[in-house]
Structure formats: C-alpha cells, structure tokens
C-alpha cells in the first residue's frame, strides 16, 4: 500500500506498544470533580448553578451567549461545593465548578436523540452545541462553529483524523478498534452538516488493524474512503493532513475551509454521533495514561474534571514520576501538581521518570539547520528563536513566528537543546500584544 504524506516532518520513536493492545477501561468514580468553565477556544462560560445546588450527571452547569463557545456539563451527579478559580492544565487559574460526587449516580433528562438519517444540518449543529462538543484532538475548538462554514466557502471533503501521530498516545487507535460504527455514523453526520460529498478517514499506516477494520466497515458507504498515511510526525496536524489527503495547501493564516476541507478528530466524531442520536453531552472521554513512570499504563474512560492524581492512582500509581504531561510528549503541557483536572481536550497523561524529564540546559544556536529542514510549515525556527532571545519581535515575525503551530519538531531535533517552542510562544505573545496596542 502506498502511503501519502506531507513534506518535511520527523520520525520519532512511537512508544505506543505499552497501551495499544489494551482495551479501554472504566475507572472508579472520583470523590470530587473540578469542571473548568472554559475548556475551549472562545468565550468562557458563566455558571448556571450555585454553591449547594444538587446537580445530575449530564446537567448543563455553564454556558455562554457567545457564538464561539461551548457549554459545560456536570460529569457526575453530586453537590456543587464551590465555584472558584482553580488551576487549569495550562497553568492559568480558570473559574471552575467543584462537584462533590454523590454515592448514587443519576442521569439528567437528556434532549431527545434523533435517528442519524433524520437529522438535518441544523439539528446536527444544535446537538453539537448543546452537548458542548469541542475538538478532542487538543485544540478544543467548538465543534458547532466548525460545522457552520459561511456559504461562500463550500466544503467538499470531510477528513476524520485517525493519525494519532503523537508518540505514546493510543486512545484514538483504541476508539477506532472498539467503536467503528459510531465513527462511521459520526462521519456521515459531519458530511451532512456541511454538505460534503466525500469523507476520508486518514489513518497512519502503523495502525494496520484499524485500517483493515474501518476499511471493511465502510465498504457499503458511498463517498467514504479509508486512506493509509505515512507514519510521520505531525501527520495529524490539520494543514499537514489536508496536504497529505487532498494535496491542497491551506494558505498562511487561513482555515481549512479555504481549500474546501473540514478536519475532525476520531473522538470528536464519536462524541458527535452520541450527541445527535442520544442527546449525550460531552462529559467523559477516553485518554491514554502512559509513560515509563506509570505502573499500569492503559487507556481509560474518565469523567471530565477528574484529577490527574485520581487517574494515576487508578493506573497503579506513578511513584517515580519526575514530570507529568497532559497531552502528548511533543505538544503536551507539563504539570506542576497532580491536582489538576483533565478536560474535554486532554488526550493523554504521560508520566516520565527523572532520566527523561530534563530539564536540559541549552547552548547557543550552532546553525546546523535541522529545525529548518524538518519544519512542516517551512519556517526558520532558528532565527525566530534568536530574535525572540534578542527581543527583536519584528524580525521574529518576519521569519514566520505567527505561522508556527508549535508542533515541537524544532526543539526536538535541536542539538543545542534550545527551547524553540518557548521562544516562538514568547514572540507570538509579544507580536500580538504590540498589534493590539498599536
């Protein structure tokens, strides 16, 4: 089978064997949930409950009038203990609803589900919004907004992203193996919502079982394909995936709809199917708990708002962890404490042992050019880093700082161990702050 791909990129070791063959497990309910009211790109939600209220599982507890936003729901029944700023995985303090979980779990009455065939595009968007769907691949962009392209940007192809190119993570892989019918149902809904005639399930070639299973499952579906893609990081990045599947390049600063494409992650696709057919809000997700410090690495189904500490305990503990990352090793966020909740966009918990945790001191740039050679956006990370260090923000911008999506390749390959992603982030923040004040 020939595999398609994009230009540049790297081949890091996969580290997926620890968890890829293990079925998704449910874990014990935690005693407390911390549910941030702002888990998505866009406007934060305001609380719909107050301290002391009893809530039911699936009950909406936060919403916003803004178009670009997504409501949040109680992931379990219980009592609202507090509504206060709590530590979020990015390090920020985010207003959160703290729920003491009740012994007896009861589901809130859900909006009626529709048969997938009967749902209109408007029904699908409304269900996505009501269920609080966001992109579960990490960026957490509200799904309903993505499903509402303007009429002058017709979308011909939906791409369901099953690449899972981040090392260590296998939750999308497990979802593909365990829930193929929901993925296909969700893909149908995505196509219908935006009026696309074609859908491609893009899967990296190292998941041959998923390729085979989904390939068989779509045999009778019209307009649907499964495509094997080269195992290369960042194959699952939106623009790189569109390039690989459709050979179209999204222009700098533009969205995929510019080239008639829409990309959704596997988990989001499943969640959309559940939202439309069962009225099920997004209150739980599958994530990979892994890394050499985890005693019993596995994929687990967890309630949104569960603390990292509880999840690690349920996986046998991580006694020797020196670094705990939410997300994948290339783009994830290192945590300062285990008392931080996982949210809708969290795809993994990675616990690293001291030998793998760094931190590395860094040297000056030796201009080896590896970051330039491997950058999938064809930028010049070395110069962005140098000018960010020198506080020359205009020059950092001229070398492409704003076009970087922080895949982490530059810092991964840098022989001087320069924190290039951090330099880019600093440059971006400074450039946008200057624009705003100008």
């Amino acid at each position: 089978m020939t595999t398609r791909t994009f230009r540049a990129g790297i081949h890091p070791p996969a580290f997926k064997e620890r968890t890829m063959a293990r079925e998704v497990m449910d874990i014990a309910m935690p005693e407390e949930l911390v549910i941030p009211l702002h888990q998505h790109t866009g406007a934060p939600c305001g609380p719909l409950v107050k301290v002391g209220d009893e809530v039911l599982a699936g009950q909406k507890i936060g919403d916003s009038k803004s178009y670009v936003s997504a409501p949040v729901h109680a992931s379990a029944a219980g009592v609202v203990k507090a509504i206060e700023p709590r530590l979020y995985f990015t390090g920020a303090q985010v207003s959160s609803v703290v729920v003491t979980v009740a012994k007896e779990q009861k589901m809130a009455p859900l909006p009626p589900g529709k048969r997938a065939d009967d749902a209109t595009p408007e029904d699908i968007r409304k269900a996505a919004r009501e269920a609080g769907l966001v992109g579960m691949g990490g960026a957490a962009f509200p799904t309903a907004v993505k499903l509402s392209p303007p009429p002058d940007k017709p979308i011909d192809t939906v791409i369901v992203n099953g690449c899972e190119c981040e090392p260590y993570l296998t939750c999308d892989h497990r979802n593909m193996l365990e829930r193929p019918s929901e993925i296909i149902g969700g893909a149908r809904l995505l196509m219908k919502a935006v009026g696309a005639k074609r859908c491609v399930l893009g899967i990296e070639a190292n998941k041959s079982d998923a390729l085979g299973l989904l390939g068989d499952a779509i045999k009778d579906e019209t307009g649907m394909d499964v495509m094997a893609l080269e195992v290369k990081y960042p194959q699952g990045a939106e623009k790189q995936l569109i390039k690989a599947v459709l050979d179209r390049e999204v222009p700098p600063g533009k969205l995929p709809m510019e080239v008639g494409a829409l990309v959704h992650n596997i988990a989001t696709t499943i969640a959309l199917y559940q939202a439309v057919t069962q009225g099920m809000p997004l209150i739980e997700r599958v994530l990979t708990v892994t890394g050499p410090a985890v005693a019993n690495p596995q994929n687990v189904r967890v309630k949104v708002g569960t603390s990292v500490r509880h999840i690690l305990e349920q996986c046998g503990g991580a006694v020797n962890a020196a670094k705990v990352v939410l997300g994948g090793p290339m783009t994830g966020w290192a945590q300062s404490t285990l008392d931080v909740p996982v949210v809708k966009g969290t795809g993994g918990i990675l616990a690293l042992t001291p030998d793998l945790a760094g931190p590395d001191g860094h040297l000056a740039c030796v201009r080896c050019g590896r970051c330039i050679k491997d950058c999938p956006m064809f930028l010049y990370p070395n110069f962005i880093g140098l000018y960010a260090e020198a506080h020359q923000w205009d020059k950092a911008e001229s070398w492409g700082a704003l076009d970087c999506f922080e895949c982490g390749i530059c810092a991964y390959v840098c022989p001087s161990r320069r924190p290039l992603v951090q330099f880019v982030r600093t440059a971006k923040a400074q450039i946008t702050a200057r624009r705003r004040s100008a």
Partner: protein, 326 residues
C-alpha cells in the same frame, strides 16, 4: 500513592532526539579519521605529532580563554577539538613546518576566531581556516621566530619516497602532476588533509548519512570548480582532487556556524566559493586559495541567509512579493 512532590515543568516537547552538539562533533572527528590515517601512513609519527599538538593547543586555548572570560570550559562539547584537528590537517610535515606554527594557528582559531567572538555559534569565520590564514599572513613573523625556537623543533623520520612538492605547486610550475588514480586514492605531498580524495569523500558520506551536512555546498562548490576549470581549458580532474579543495568543500565550507542555513543560500555559497577558488588558483598568487575563498564567503553568510528565503507552507510566490513590498 506517594508521587514525587516536586514535578519538573518545562515547555514542550518532552522528548528529544539523540543528536546533541557533542555527538555531532564526535561524528565529525570520526569522519576525519580516514584522511588522518592516510596521512599517518605517509608521514608516520610526524602526522600523529601535528594532530596531537593541535588537539592539545585547542583544549588548552578553550580552557584558558574561557576561564579569562568567566565561562565554563566547553572542551566536552568537542567543537574546540574539531577545530584543532582541522587546523592540523591544513599543515604539511614537509618543508618549513614547525609545531609552534600549528599551535599558534590553533590558538588563533579557537581563541580569537571563536571564543573571543562569543563562543560556538557566534563566530562569523571558520575558526580552523581563520587560524590557518592568519599564520599564512604572518609568515614573515615566523621566519623571524623560527631560528629562535629551532632547538625545540621536533622531527620524526620520514619515508624516503615522499616528494616535497604538492600537486598544486607542480601544476603552477607547469610540471606533470601525479596520475588521476593515485591522486584519487592516496597521494603524499601537501597537507595532511590533502593525502586522499577518497578518504575525504568517505568522511563526507558519513557526515551526510548521519544528517550533519547536506549535499548542496560540497556539490555546488566542487561542481563550479570543475566546470570553470574545464571551460578555461585547465585539467578539471586535478583541480577537483588536488590541493585543499575537497577538504575545504566537505569539512570547512559545510561548517554549520559559518555557512548559510537556507537551501538556496547553500548553493549560492558553494558556487561563489568555487568561483573564488578558480580565480585564486588561476590568476592570483597564494596556493591556499580554498582557505581564503571560504573565509571571504563566510563574511557574506548573513546577507545570503536574509536574501534567499523559501516560501512558507501554503504561500504562493506572488503573495511573498506583496509581503516584502508591504
């Protein structure tokens, strides 16, 4: 569970490739082994001695200069040793060679051209070539000094068959040079690093396979020299294989710090050096044209990098022009 209560927080990525500056420098040293061994075959202990002197001088210079500047020693990153080794390969144990000249060249390279410019990554000029070129320019000084130090001179026995004239010198005098095959495989005469084209190419292929250098600079440089000498009616094969051309093209012009980082820039850089080499060799005096050509083009690297940028992902040529004009 009792997890470590102090967790390390650092920006992503949280995994790194195995390539670091020290491992890369180690690979360069490995790549220099074939030609060094060839020179040891021809010059015996003389070659070993030059390399040893330069390595020691490089390490000592790194230690002392960095101590004076208040920086921790950087001998362990290997870059000073690479410079020292490359300086050694620029010297020939025949003729008026003396070990203190090589030590001085190393000191100037590591100390002045690199450390005083800010250390590895901040030097504009290739340290090894800068040191070598300074010694060439300071030749009258060494003529003056050498008799004072003559008692310190070290000479090891040399096999009889070694001719003192380098192929390039023979060519300049209009004499018959060595046969092509011998020039390619192994030929005594000239600097340590000029004893075998094959050994240099082997080293270059190793560096290429390890991902440390790309083909653009060596190929465009040597290609330009071959094309120009052929057009001008000279022997392109001798010009490609003899003298310091391959040593310069594979190991000096590809120096990370002092060569362009852009793909197009590398080609321009290589071609420009090639043109300069031909000008030096055919029309100007010094035999060490390669060293001066590379050093001259080192100075143009920031200009080349700034002028030749590739398009970003999804960018079209016209849009790039608009962006520049705006």
């Amino acid at each position: 569970m009792k997890p470590c209560e102090t967790l390390i927080v650092s920006p992503p990525p949280h995994i790194k490739s195995g390539v670091t500056v020290p491992t890369a420098m180690r690979d360069v040293l490995i790549a220099l082994l074939p030609v060094t061994l060839t020179s040891v075959y021809f010059y015996r202990l003389n070659a070993v001695f030059i390399v040893a002197v330069c390595l020691a001088a490089a390490a000592l210079t790194d230690l002392t200069i960095r101590r004076i500047l208040g920086r921790p020693s950087s001998v362990s990153d290997g870059s000073a040793l690479v410079t020292g080794w490359l300086v050694a390969l620029c010297f020939s144990p025949t003729g008026a060679w003396s070990w203190w000249t090589a030590a001085a060249a190393t000191f100037i390279g590591v100390g002045l051209a690199k450390e005083m410019m800010g250390g590895l990554g901040f030097n504009r000029y290739n340290p090894a070539l800068f040191g070598r070129a300074c010694v060439i320019i300071l030749a009258p000084l060494f003529v003056l000094l050498n008799p004072e130090f003559s008692e310190l001179a070290v000479r090891f026995p040399m096999p009889d068959a070694i001719s003192t004239a380098t192929p390039m010198a023979l060519l300049k005098q209009g004499m018959q040079g060595p046969a092509y095959l011998r020039l390619f495989l192994a030929n005594a005469g000239g600097a340590l690093g000029e004893t075998s084209a094959l050994a240099l190419i082997l080293g270059g292929v190793y560096l290429y396979l390890r991902g440390h250098i790309c083909w653009r600079i060596p190929v465009s440089l040597v290609g330009t020299v071959v094309a120009l000498t052929a057009i001008l009616g000279r022997d392109p094969v001798v010009h490609a294989l003899a003298g310091g051309l391959l040593l310069g093209a594979i190991f000096m012009a590809t120096d990370w710090v002092t060569s362009p980082v852009t793909d197009q820039g590398k080609i321009v850089f290589g071609v420009a050096i090639g043109v300069l080499v031909v000008v030096f060799r055919l029309f100007l005096g010094p035999v060490e044209g390669v060293a001066f050509s590379i050093l001259i083009m080192n100075g143009f690297v920031p200009l080349i990098d700034g002028a030749l940028r590739r398009l970003k992902f999804g960018e079209v040529r016209g849009a790039a022009l608009v962006r520049k004009a705006a």
